[in-house]
Every structure is written in C-alpha cells, then in structure tokens.
Symmetry: C2
Subunit: 350 residues, 2 copies
C-alpha cells in the first residue's frame, strides 16, 4: 500500500504548446520546485519558455534526469500523436514518463514497449495505486493542517504550498502533501483523492499523511468543498482521513456562487468553519481553524488590505492573501494550537 512517488530531477516536456495557460503544471513545477527541474523541451521554436535550459531527451538521460514530466494539459487532455517520437525515445533511454492526462500512457503500444525495454515507468498521476486500505480512524503521531475551501478552485493548493514554504523558512519540520494531480507533480508524490474508489477515500487520506515525529507538520492540499453538491463527499473523506489538528479556509473574494454550479450560493466562511469543526472532530476532537487564505485578485488593489483586515476582525482569525505578503500570520497561529499526543493508544492534548 503506497502513494505515488516520482523520480527527480525532471525534464519538463512542453510539446508544441504556445499558450502558457495550458502549461500550468510545468509552470507550477518551476515556481515551487525549481531545484528539481533540469531543463525544458519544446517541439516548436515559438514554444513556451519556463526559463529552464533547453534540453533534448538524450542530454537529459546523460545528465541523470529521472523523469520526463508532461507539463501541459490541452483541452480534452489527451496524448498528442506529435509527442510520441520524443516520449518513446525518452522511455527507451530509461526516463520515467509522468503525465496527468485523461488518456493512458500505457495504452500506447510504442510507449508501453519502450518502457518495458528500459525498465522506465509510465506514471499517470491521476491513477491511484492499487490496494488502498479502508480508513481506520486510528490517531497518528505528528501534526497536520488541512486546506478546506468555500468552493473548488479558490487557491487551496497554492495556499498549502505557500504555507509549507513559509513554515520551512522558519525552520519547521514540514511536508506538503498533495491530494490532486498538479500537486502530486509538484510534491513528487501524493494521492489523487478524486480518483480513489469511495470505500477507500479516507483510507487513502490516512496513507497520505502517515505517522511522523511529534514536531512534524503535514500541510495537506484540500479538495472540493464540504458544501459542494458534486464534490462534498471527496472533501469529507479527505477531512476524516487527514484527522487535521488545524485547518485553513480558502476563499476567493467576490465569488458568490459555486463555480459551475450556479444554482448554489457560496457558503459563508463562518459556515465552512463550523461544519468543518463538526465533521472533523470525529477523528480529531482538537481540530480548530487557524485562519483564512483569500485570493484577492478580483478586488481593486486598493481594497485588498482593507478587506483582509475587516474579515480578520469579523472572524477573530488571521486572514491573509498568500500572494500579497505570505502566510506568516497563519504559521504563528498554527504554532499556538494545542498538540495532541498519543501515548500507548491514549490521546491527550498538551
């Protein structure tokens, strides 16, 4: 029973894409894991520049690159026939091919054969590993903070990455735990919760943040939203299995309705806090909210800090925009939360 694990360093493959919007995965890798990105490979002269050295698959293999990561996702999300020569050469040279596409790399006979020849892996980060366990609810050692959202696409992944970065800067012992495909590529591992069979959802979340040392923090990427008619179950499974000590509510200022579900009003931040505490206390009675992360990009720049201050006063919690000054107030609050200690199966707060 395992999570997905990628083999760094990476060659970012950009195919013949020319629009940065469709290269979010590659851009995310460079933003958050620059030290693991050895180079980029474009198939077209006017391709996207992520600021990495141009590199052929042959150079990459010679330089000890572990994986060719497909850094683009076009609409539809399939494998383009124009990519195949390059991907096949990479696989033959022993590079793992990593993708988050809808199509299966292994269903392309040329790639399957090339990988079999060299021993390279074809990794689809959308596909969970087999034999996930059912959630036990057993209290694990170490500490956990989970991102939850008023909706999908409100900045849960970004907040988790920024929080983990800021905690690391303060010398804390911390890991970012990815629960979705782009996060998995950035983290180099994780579990795509939305693709896990329902019965094993909280079991998968338990695997994602295993027992750890008492001073260790897992910063867990969230999924969906507990008030979401389509994805609420994914959010609950992740919450129950993560058994977080703390959570951060993520929200986009100015959004009033669930994106793509226009008949549903957005819950208030207060409602999300209350519901998350209620549901999360089943597996961690000490769960508490340590603050709010707001994407303020839709507000006029002059209104942003006022919005955060007002919200912070209303909630009595630190409210930040990670893109406008980082997450330090959240870290401060996190460090004040009581620590749960497990001794001989007994759980206590200190």
């Amino acid at each position: 029973m395992n999570t997905i694990e990628l083999r760094p360093p990476y060659l970012i493959f950009l195919g013949n894409e020319t629009c940065l919007t469709y290269a979010k995965t590659g851009a995310g890798l460079v933003e958050w894991r620059r030290e693991l990105c050895s180079g980029q490979l474009n198939l077209t002269p006017d391709g996207i520049d992520l600021g990495l050295p141009q590199m052929s698959v042959e150079q990459a293999a010679a330089d000890g690159v572990g994986s060719l990561v497909i850094g683009t996702a076009s609409v539809g999300g399939g494998i383009s026939p124009e990519w195949l020569d390059t991907l096949e050469r990479a696989a033959l040279l022993g590079l793992d091919i990593v993708a988050g596409l809808h199509g299966s790399l292994a269903s392309v006979p040329r790639l399957q054969q090339a990988a079999a020849t060299s021993g390279a892996r074809l990794v689809n980060v959308r596909v969970p590993p087999p034999e996930l366990p059912v959630g036990s609810g057993r209290k694990r050692t170490g500490r956990r903070v989970l991102m939850v959202g008023t909706d999908c696409a409100v900045g849960k992944k970004y907040t988790a990455l920024a929080l983990a970065r800021d905690m690391r800067r303060r010398g804390l012992n911390v890991d970012f735990r990815a629960s979705g495909q782009t996060g998995i590529m950035i983290a180099g591992g994780g579990l795509p919760m939305d693709a896990v069979v329902s019965d094993f959802l909280s079991g998968a979340a338990e695997l994602l943040s295993p027992d750890n040392s008492a001073d260790h923090w897992d910063v867990i990427e969230g999924q969906g939203g507990i008030f979401h008619p389509g994805f609420g179950a994914v959010s609950l499974g992740l919450l129950l299995g993560s058994q977080p000590d703390a959570f951060v509510v993520c929200h986009e200022a100015g959004r009033n309705h669930l994106i793509g579900w226009e008949g549903f009003a957005l819950p208030t931040i207060e409602q999300v806090i209350e519901r998350t505490v209620e549901l999360g206390s089943l597996t961690n009675p000490a769960i508490s909210c340590v603050g709010v992360s707001i994407n303020t990009s839709r507000l006029p720049p002059g209104d942003r800090s006022g919005y955060l201050e007002e919200l912070s006063e209303r909630l009595g919690l630190p409210c930040v925009d990670p893109l406008q000054g980082g997450t330090d107030p959240l870290v401060g609050r996190l460090l004040q939360t009581p620590q749960t200690v497990v001794t001989d199966g007994e759980v206590a707060l200190i």
Copy 2:
C-alpha cells in the same frame, strides 16, 4: 450513462455451499423476489435448500431463464474452480452470469470465451458502469426516502425493502433503489456506491433515483453511516445525490460501538437526525426524518415493544422493527411530509 440492470428470471447457483449463512444473496432473492426465481442449482447433495425447484442449466435455458445468479459468498469471496464447468455451460447456453464476488468473472478465459460465443453477459454487481457523471445538484421530480444508519450492518437494506413492500401494498407508486451489491441482485439493478470513484459519487446517486412522476417514491438503500471514520464519505455522497425528501434512521438496539471500529462510540439517533438534516438540506432544504427502524433481535423478546415505545416517545417519531410488525407507521408519516414541486426550475413545497 447507466445503472446496472439484470435479466430475470433467475437460476440461483449455490455451488457446493452447505451453510446458509454464506448464501445470503440467494436467500435474499427468494425472500424478496420469489416470483423471479425459477430454480436453484446445488453441486452437492447436502447443499442449501432455498425451497426452489432443483434445476440444471440446460433446463433453465429451455425454460427461458435470463441469468444464473451466484447466490453464495464464501470468506474471501472468489470464484471456486469447482464451479467453472457449470458456469461455462450456462454462459454457452446464453444465460447471463451474475456475481458479487471480489474476483472478476471476465478474468476467467473459459467464461469470457463462453460468454463471447453466446452473447451472454458476465455481470459483476460490484463494478459500476463506466462514464458516471459528476453530481449536478439539480432538483429532480418525484419523491425520495433514504435509509441512513447509526452504523454499517444495522438493517438499512432490510428496512428499505420492507418499506417499499409495505408502500406497494398500500397502492403507492414505489421503487426500491439498491446502492449495494446484495440489494442490486434483489432489485435487479442499481449502483454499488462504495465502488464508485469519489468524484462521481453523488452523480451516481443522482442516476440511481432519476426524475419520476410527482406521486412516485424511490425508497433508497443506504450505505455506511455519516459518523463513520471509514465510510462517512460514501454516506455523504449518497445523501447529496439522493436529495431525499425524507429519511429513516436505522439502528441496532444494544450496539454501542461502530462494528469493527471499536474505538468509536455509536452516535445517538438524535445526532444522526440532526447531522443528516444539516448535510442533506444542501440539495433538499425540505428534508426531514420520518421515523426510526430498529433491529431489536439482541433484546429479550419481552423488552422489544417497550423499547420501541419509549424511543418513539423520546423522539416524537414512529419507531418500528420491520421484522416485528412491518413499517406502516413510517409509511403513514411519509405520506404527511410536504411535497416539493419543481415548476420551470423553481422549487416549492405544497
């Protein structure tokens, strides 16, 4: 996009099983769908007798039987090699082979080939159909009542079947909707919610109880329990997608801890009612509890009616044991619940 659908009538296959405990599926079919069961087939002279005529696969084919249903589930739940000759003959004769086993019928080359030759289907009721949708939350026409539980294995399926039977007897327009494998065999269709990929959980529940006439009731089998650390997410997905007008809480008298999760105390019935209303009101603001179904088998016979009366007084709701006098008080309450009407996309209560 479809639910599973079985082809009646059935030949119940009991293999070489001699213990009735392991033939629950077959016994359930005979109890609830006697009219669809043409015969039984034992491979051993001291096999289980479900009271059906003994029938060979050749007789079954000649009599127009649609499916051979594997009515046993041994520990481990695989396909026994001793069964293969019979199953292969049945498939060659055009009978669908229906199983709820862990092993895949289609992975046995002899069966795969026999089915391909005759056009018979190999149906595993544990495997959801492909291309399930994401839950939309759209309000559907017709009425719905969902079973929810204080735990797993408290009688949710039995209660739903008894309730649907009692409603039908009163002339109501009603369907039992199965969300688990045994229920699917009895219903002749349904969706195994626990095997659905998380992202499509409430979408699957929406498919399970589609738009219907205004006077029609779907009686929906429940899964798991909303206070369950392993299966809470399955319960929430089913609740959100079912958008029930009403629900029945199912409970086993005398149970104090989640079965198999001994560290977790059972929630009270009041807690389950409150939480279900809270969560369910997202997709149906009119949701209400219409009563409680108790499995009283662990109580001394003399204490049972007193237990139900006391509970009913405490909750102000009808409380029944479906095995001890049926579910009529629940039906009565159900018929008093306000009806939600959808007109031009607007939802109103009448």
